[in-house]
């Protein structure tokens, strides 16, 4: 930052310094572009490979297919013997949408209590909530599995959705609490003077203003659930209930005879929803990270 403002502050520039600065800028731009090329290469390679006929995937390493084809998509889509990828997409969508609704509803309610209401033990509960934020979820997966098995929920979407409706995603509660704290308290006071109950304040004052935090929660909930592998692997075990990541995993099974083309085609499709979210909400996503700091 400082180096940028320097030239303007000095009354007269020596031409050599200017030239050096300019080459610095060019160098920087070249460096950024080179890094971008490396970082984005795997993604571009994936898309290119999905469009190449089988013979080309290994032989043609360029990013441009010689004979682009959609054949891989057709074959991948119907590829699984009994179940099509359409089914996996449907299952993934149902679970992701369920989680989005569950997370938004439960976290906004919890966050309102922590951010705005006074009640006994509030500080203690808040500390406990922050504690669960750091809790690795692998620790809970065994006993939770036993619990959901007892309830007969294995191989249904319920173990993946119901916990979210009970505000178990502490991260989003924290994000919303942070956001709600920035909403001026005077608004609450005003509503209270007008005879609003805590419920009225929640519904008419805080909820509408917290919308950006809710949207951020919705987007991240969707993306994380869509990409989630660990819990879906554990809870879903019949092909009819498989989600996209679990379906993709089936490509791992074949010994050497795995068809790369269809695998890449389905991989591209699996990333597409996340990519579209990225295109539509990139600014919000980057800001969401800054508000609370997020795992990748």
């Amino acid at each position: 930052m400082a180096t940028l403002t320097q030239p303007r502050q000095r009354p007269r520039q020596r031409p050599r310094a200017v030239r050096r600065r300019r080459t610095g800028t060019v160098l920087r731009t070249v460096l950024i572009l080179a890094l971008l090329a490396v970082v984005l290469y795997p993604l571009l390679w994936l898309v290119a490979s999905a469009l190449k006929p089988d013979t080309e995937v290994a032989s043609n390493l360029s990013l441009v297919p010689h004979n682009p084809t959609l054949h891989n998509f057709v074959r991948g889509w119907t590829g699984m013997k009994t179940v099509s990828f359409g089914r996996f997409f449907l299952n993934s969508t149902v679970i992701a949408v369920g989680v989005v609704i569950a997370n938004c509803a439960s976290c906004v309610v919890t966050a309102y209590a922590f951010a705005r209401l006074r009640f006994p033990l509030r500080g203690a509960w808040f500390a406990v909530m922050i504690g669960t934020l750091l809790l690795p979820h692998h620790v809970l997966i065994v006993p939770q599995f036993v619990l959901f098995k007892f309830l007969g929920w294995i191989d249904t979407p319920l173990p993946l959705i119901v916990p979210k409706a009970l505000a178990t995603e502490a991260f989003f509660i924290f994000l919303m609490v942070q956001f709600m704290r920035s909403i001026p308290r005077e608004l609450d006071q005003a509503a209270k003077v007008d005879g609003c109950s805590p419920f009225g304040i929640f519904w008419y004052v805080v909820m509408p203003l917290a919308r950006p935090a809710v949207v951020t929660t919705a987007i991240f909930s969707f993306i994380w659930t869509w990409n989630d592998f660990f819990s879906q692997l554990i809870y879903l075990n019949s092909p009819d209930h498989y989600t996209v990541p679990i379906g993709l995993r089936l490509f791992l099974g074949g010994e050497g005879q795995t068809e790369l083309g269809p695998m890449f085609a389905m991989s591209v499709l699996s990333l597409l929803p996340v990519f579209l979210f990225f295109l539509a909400f990139q600014r919000l996503l980057v800001e969401g990270i800054n508000t609370a700091g997020i795992k990748g």
Partner: protein
């Protein structure tokens, strides 16, 4: 956020009860607020009790049994699971070693990349917004099964990586099939997702007051000196935050190791990281008693690492002016 304040402005000017209404609130209103508080907190309280606290205690109990998921039976065995883990189980020792290796390399590499690119992109210029977003993209996609499958192909014998290496006369191996190298492909997949910490670094860099750089320039400091004496100390809270977060995160690595290792932690258990070992033990072999013990050791280890970070943090993290947290 800006919009919130904009809409708030005129309203808060109009209503100005300077004395907090709560103070003079009667017992009745306060009781009403407490009740409302618990009503709003109910879903979380149920979730915390039923989905987190009770299962945690239950898993502590399970860890002292040899419970088996298939027969759904088992008995109390005392500390036998823990003793077995630390004395005779080679899988446990191996998974700890692999996970620590992964965390020790992937975390610094990821953060170094994040900081380096953040430094290149702090200044707003034409295109930096787009560049930031594009560098961030792998963080959104990289945790997926799809990218792990891509990685497996990129680092296979006739994969693209070997093709590039052949330009430099290096004859590459089948990296993902070699127990010596496969973990490093997983490391690279982790480091590739440096976009999230990068975004946090950029925000942190913007918080460092420009006057500090100007003062350093007046004192004749060069670019390296400025980085060491101004940037690093000023950024230390953010570095600390990213370090804690990414380290804990890297201990929990699962998907990429699972997929690249072909679902079993192969070749020769070289990708059997801690969580994968736990998964195979608990859900592959149904030894949920032993898996619970593994989970508790994991929890304690992650807790200790966190405590260690916070303990040493005060020696190198500077919460100076400009970074009031």
């Amino acid at each position: 956020m800006a919009t919130t304040h904009a809409t708030a402005g005129p309203l808060s000017d109009r209503v100005q009860p300077r004395i907090p209404a709560r103070r003079k609130g009667s017992g009745a209103t306060r009781r009403r607020e407490s009740a409302a508080g618990y009503v709003f907190l109910t879903p979380w309280l149920i979730g915390f009790t039923a989905i987190t606290a009770v299962p945690m205690l239950y898993s502590l109990y399970l860890s002292f049994t040899n419970w088996d998921l298939i027969s759904n039976a088992g008995q109390y065995v005392g500390f036998r699971n823990y003793v077995r883990m630390f004395t005779i189980d080679p899988s446990f020792r191996r998974s700890v070693k692999i996970t620590v290796e992964y965390a020790l390399v992937a975390t610094p590499l990821k953060l170094a990349l994040a900081l380096g690119v953040a430094l290149l992109l702090v200044r707003a210029r034409r295109g930096t917004g787009t560049a930031r977003a594009l560098f961030y993209l792998p963080s959104l996609l990289g945790g997926s099964v799809a990218l792990a499958l891509v990685w497996q192909s990129l680092f296979s014998r006739d994969g693209v990586v070997n093709h590039f290496l052949s330009w430099f006369g290096v004859h590459g191996k089948a990296w993902v099939n070699d127990p010596k190298y496969v973990l490093w492909t997983v490391v690279l997949l982790g480091a590739w997702q440096f976009g999230a910490p990068m975004v946090i670094f950029i925000a942190g860099l913007k918080q460092i007051p420009p006057e500090l750089y100007e003062a350093a320039s007046v004192d004749g400091a060069g670019a390296v000196r400025k980085f060491r004496s101004v940037t690093l100390p000023g950024l230390s809270p953010v570095i600390f935050f990213n370090l804690v977060l990414e380290t804990i995160h890297s201990f929990q690595i699962f998907t990429s190791a699972y997929v690249i290792g072909g679902g079993q932690g192969g070749p020769v258990d070289a990708t059997k990281v801690y969580t994968l070992n736990l998964y195979l033990e608990g859900f592959g072999q149904s030894h949920i008693g032993y898996a619970s013990a593994l989970a508790w050791v994991f929890l304690v280890a992650v807790g200790l690492v966190t405590v260690l970070f916070f303990g040493t943090g005060r020696f190198w993290v500077h919460y100076g002016d400009g970074s009031d947290r």
